[in-house]
Point group: C2
Chain length 159, copies 2
Amino acid sequence: MLRVTKLADYAIVMLTCFASHGGATHNARDVAREARLPLPVVSKVLKRLTREGLLTSHRGIRGGYGLARQPHEITVADIIRALEGPIAVTECADKVKGDCGLETKCPVRANWHMINQAIHGALGKITLAEMARPLQQQYVNISEPLSTGQSGTTSAQVL
Amino acid sequence: MLRVTKLADYAIVMLTCFASHGGATHNARDVAREARLPLPVVSKVLKRLTREGLLTSHRGIRGGYGLARQPHEITVADIIRALEGPIAVTECADKVKGDCGLETKCPVRANWHMINQAIHGALGKITLAEMARPLQQQYVNISEPLSTGQSGTTSAQVL
DNA sequence: AGCATTTTGGACTGATTTGGTACTATTTTG
DNA sequence: CAAAATAGTACCAAATCAGTCCAAAATGCT
């Protein structure tokens, strides 16, 4: 669990196709074929990504979709947020005003908020450009925050 | 989105109660009163936590629940996993054998797996002991891994 | 032995979310 | 004007989630 929805998953696969093709425009049918996903689903996701500003669209007989920004300017967090709304691990993590009955004295809430920020930060650091080229693995540095070295890069703990 | 279920949220609140009371045993009714949650829900969560090995239980008239391990030996990842199963951001992130039709040539899969590990690592680093004492905020250091300072502690980006 | 209390396990239900499809409009090109 | 493509929305089936309830087993106490 702690799942991302399938639609967000599809979105990342689809956007990866765009990124690996140098930002050319594709129509929904081509994307569906390349991503091997049913056309209605692809169409739905593309529409939503466009409305959220990650893609640009052109209608008409030669229309299609294209990336609105450079691949390295689109993060995984952007994509998830576009399809699922704000990233909030718990219900009270994104609310300013807590109304869970435990509001002020709930010691867990502040911690949740921080965990949420941590995850959000991790997802916001991975760009589409990095997702497009496989097995590029030096962009996340979450593990061992206070124990071992902090040499800045290339310390991602994979597997 | 990217939500944790309410049950897991409750579980953390409830376990925090145990931790802040020095590991004494409480029965379901007392936990419900302290956590201000309905008794059936509390009971359900306690049962599951026991079955997953995070709590020990004693039946009978003086029975109740107690932490199976020390608070600093129980992580948030443990708790989430107990209530929701393995932490997997996407469906293919925890499978060894992918059957999504894109298996081998899917470049996104490996990256998802790494993202998953990153989140898992973050949640596995926060213990119940740290959740119990509020606003202790130097245990996560996810943000700014390669940009600004990395002084080891107290660089968690809160808010 | 018997009783009150507590956990255990499962089933069950209503609500919400998700995945996916369909249909109708609107825009653009030729 | 016709064809092709996107835009928007509505819709439905399936899955998941939240919460409740009940009967059974275990335990301690008198």
